[in-house]
């Protein structure tokens, strides 16, 4: 028997040359106004903020900071458009506009993918293959519903709500805009949407698409800004529906502030999903699932599989294979087509992640990071796992929202299930086993909005998405997603 250490070597030898996506096929304006009533207008107070490329810390553009007065203008435009043409238009005609948005998005897919990666730091492979195609798919899907709403809810008469105020996060900027805008429009509502302050650019480009698609002015209004702008939308008295995706902390504030107002709302909040690997799983594919679950989009995924529960008899094998696999993950320039893990979205998010790395070590878990080099400038975090984590640790209980995985072991199915459910969150979960019966048992008992079996992070516009417990209220996507934008009268 060989006594040499059996470790695979990935660092020397044949390497991939840089394969950057070019940035000469589109332009980004130096300054963007607010998209209100079908045109870009200057903010009333004249204030702007900069959006930077998190991979280089270079400023990309400057974007209007919407004040309360600007939000009021946007809501008024939305109300006017609602009372005017939009709420009276036939579903078939509304559908035509939404189909048009979907098609223009597809035509400009390369531009959108590149801008998404520039502004947010996610690898171009993901924005190109996942974010942008899925965003277009959401518009296509809901466009199809626009003239079929009465068939979606048999025996009920669906009616639009009015003006929808929507606040979205920075992890999937365009995709979240699509999740919010497409069903709202299909159901006959008008929209005021605020993208996250670190990733406003694809939403502003989407405003161009909406303008080019010829939507009546005011049907979709896009205002940029930070928390105060979002609060102004949520609290505006003439908003009928609030849709928010973001942190549980902000979700709580929103729920409190709209209590008693009669506003309909959906909240898609945090998560701390368990990815449960049984000994009889296809181990190599399960390792891929772990990687996909936690390192997809730098772990900036509310449904990320950030807790790994692995059955004790295969724990060593799974962890050693995972470490080996982590060595092959390419961390770096988000625009390089071979990059697997891009930049952390912002300095403050990096700070949060780093504070949890310290917490994890202080709690006694063992930290392992891949040995890759990261660039000097920009915000980066190596793929990280903690072994020997415990249910009582903060790194197991709290959402880190970064490429950081907490690993625990379990012996029996019941123990795995109890640990999986022992969290204030309930957005997603994963089960890995070759046994069908075990899949059914686990997926029925994991309290989460979506549970994947032998795969992870699969999204489709036809499938509803949303959380239990502190992961949120309501569902987006699929037929369920229509319900959130309709009054269903008997």
């Amino acid at each position: 028997m060989s006594t040499e250490p059996t470790k695979l070597a990935f660092d020397d030898g044949w390497q991939y040359a840089p394969a950057p996506e070019s940035t000469d096929h589109f332009s980004i304006d130096e300054q963007y106004g607010l998209f209100i009533n079908g045109e870009f207008v200057a903010p009333e107070e004249g204030r702007y903020f900069e959006t930077i490329n998190p991979a280089t810390e270079d400023t990309i553009s400057s974007v209007a900071l919407a004040s309360k007065a600007d939000v009021d203008r946007a809501v008024k435009a939305a109300r006017k458009a609602y009372n005017g043409k939009w709420s009276k238009m036939s579903g078939a005609d509304r559908g035509k506009y939404i189909f048009r948005i979907a098609r223009i998005l597809q035509e400009r897919a390369r531009e959108f993918a590149t801008v998404e990666s520039l502004d947010g730091g996610k690898p171009i492979r993901e924005s190109r293959d996942i974010d942008i195609p899925l965003a277009a798919a959401h518009f296509f899907y809901y466009a199809g519903w626009a003239d079929k709403l009465e068939y979606a809810f048999p025996g009920r008469t669906p009616a639009s709500l009015g003006v929808a105020g929507q606040v979205i996060p920075w992890n999937f900027p365009l995709l979240m805009a699509a999740w919010k805008i497409a069903p709202a429009l299909a159901c006959g509502n008008t929209v005021v949407l605020k993208p996250a302050e670190t990733t406003p650019l694809t939403a502003l480009k989407l405003a161009e698409v909406i303008r080019d698609a010829g939507l009546p002015p005011g049907v979709v209004n896009i205002v940029t800004g930070a928390g105060e702008t979002g609060a102004a939308i949520v609290n505006h008295p003439d908003v009928n529906k609030v849709a928010f995706t973001g942190s549980t902390e902000v979700g709580r504030l929103i729920q409190r502030s709209i209590a008693g107002t009669g506003k309909k709302y959906t909240l898609e909040l945090g998560g701390k999903a368990a990815n449960v690997i049984f000994a009889d799983a296809a181990i190599d594919q399960a390792v891929e699932g772990i990687v996909n679950g936690i390192f997809f989009n730098q772990g900036h995924v509310c449904c990320a599989g950030s807790r790994l529960l692995v059955q004790e008899s295969v724990a060593d094998e799974v962890i050693s294979k995972l470490k080996e696999r982590m060595e092959t993950l390419i961390v770096g320039d988000p625009l390089d087509k071979n990059t697997d893990i891009g930049a952390i979205n912002s300095a403050s998010q990096l700070e949060t992640i780093q504070s949890y790395l310290k917490v994890g070590q202080d709690e006694g878990a063992v930290m392992y990071q891949s040995s890759c080099n990261v660039p000097d400038r920009g915000y980066w975090c190596r793929p990280t796992i903690f072994t020997g984590a415990s249910q009582s640790n903060r790194i197991v209980q709290e959402e880190i929202f970064g490429p950081v995985l907490a690993i625990q072991t379990f012996r029996t199915l019941e123990e795995g299930l109890t640990k999986a459910n022992n969290t204030p969150y309930g957005l997603s979960g994963g089960v890995w086993t070759d046994k069908g019966a075990k899949i059914f048992k686990m997926t029925q008992k994991i309290r989460a909005g979506v549970v994947w079996a032998n795969t992870f992070n699969k999204f489709d516009p036809t499938s509803p998405f949303g959380g239990y417990k502190e992961s949120g209220v309501g569902r987006e996507g699929g037929l369920h997603g229509l319900d959130a934008y309709l009054k269903l009268e008997v």
Binding site: A9, F10, D284, K337
Partner: protein
């Protein structure tokens, strides 16, 4: 490798404990390798590596000594218009052509691989398979590409298959043994993985996907499963086993993605002709065309490359 290691490896493995394979997951992972973008100098380097890993193959009933001799010339002189190219790893022929190939290759550092064991069906008695193997080696074959008895494997006669591979390995003497699983007949990736484990424990120096006579032949998912089996065997025993996808890899881009998969699954130690081969007849010319294009920026007509 000490002889002790071979003995300890040469035990029938418990196939019930072989890691399961999820086909959907394997396909997704294989697709990821194809999303890698290989450009400029890394492409040139990969193309040259591919050339050096080719087992230039002719396995036809119509093979003639003349054809084989010309193929051997091609193995030595891939495309002299591009100076400094590597030569292929081996020429792969039927046993009757081993002598011809051996003479044609002369002192060049190119191996002669011979298929044996009633290739491609494997439907012969063991005595005949052993005799065929010994005769091919006596003719000068440096490598033997055997086929497993798929019928016995599918019937669950794992012991029979194990013993057969071990016996052929012994008959090979110093020649290297590549074991063809003929994955197109195995039906599931779980069986591919089990057959890989069985062959490696029985003494295979290489495991190989296909004869090229059965469809589907080599695919990225099948090859990935075999590479993962090789990796786990290496962790278990410390012994490196080579990999040879064969059949259906006819264009350079696909071959480069096979290398991407190799690099990200087994790492750099396997990135040499010693541990990785492509079984192919038409791949070499497509690689040469690509290499030419890397130099001149233009694609040349196929007529500028010798067809053998």
């Amino acid at each position: 490798m000490t002889s002790e290691a071979v003995t300890s490896a040469n035990r029938m493995p418990d196939l019930g404990r072989v890691t399961l394979v999820d086909e959907v997951g394997v396909r997704e992972r294989a697709a990821r390798f194809q999303a890698r973008s290989i450009k400029n100098e890394s492409k040139t380097e990969a193309l040259r590596l591919v050339l050096s890993m080719i087992d230039l193959t002719t396995l036809e009933g119509q093979d003639t000594p003349g054809k084989v001799a010309q193929l051997c010339q091609k193995a030595i002189h891939l495309h002299d218009a591009l100076p400094g190219l590597p030569h292929v790893a081996a020429v792969c022929v039927y046993p009757t052509m081993v002598g011809v190939a051996k003479r044609a290759l002369g002192n060049h550092d190119i191996n002669v691989a011979s298929v044996a064991t009633a290739f491609p069906s494997g439907m012969a008695l063991r005595q005949i398979k052993l005799e065929e193997t010994r005769m091919a080696v006596a003719e000068g074959a440096d490598e033997i590409d055997m086929v497993i008895s798929r019928g016995a494997f599918l019937q669950g006669e794992y012991g029979f298959v194990f013993d057969e591979i071990a016996a052929i390995k012994e008959a090979c003497g110093d020649a290297h043994l590549k074991v063809i699983l003929e994955t197109g007949e195995l039906g599931t990736l779980d069986r591919v993985r089990r057959a890989s484990v069985l062959a490696m424990h029985a003494g295979a120096d290489f495991i190989k996907t296909s004869t090229g006579k059965i469809q589907p032949a080599a695919t990225l998912p099948v090859t990935l499963v075999m590479l993962q089996a090789i990796r786990d065997f290496y962790f278990e025993t410390g012994r490196m086993v080579g990999m040879k996808p064969a059949g259906g890899i006819s264009n350079a881009k696909l071959a480069v993605h096979y290398l991407v998969m190799l690099r990200e699954t087994l790492g750099n130690a396997w990135m040499t002709p010693k541990w990785y081969r492509f079984g192919a007849s038409s791949l070499a010319n497509d690689v040469l065309m690509q290499l030419r294009k890397q130099v001149t920026g233009n694609y040349q007509s196929a007529d500028y490359f010798s067809k053998d």
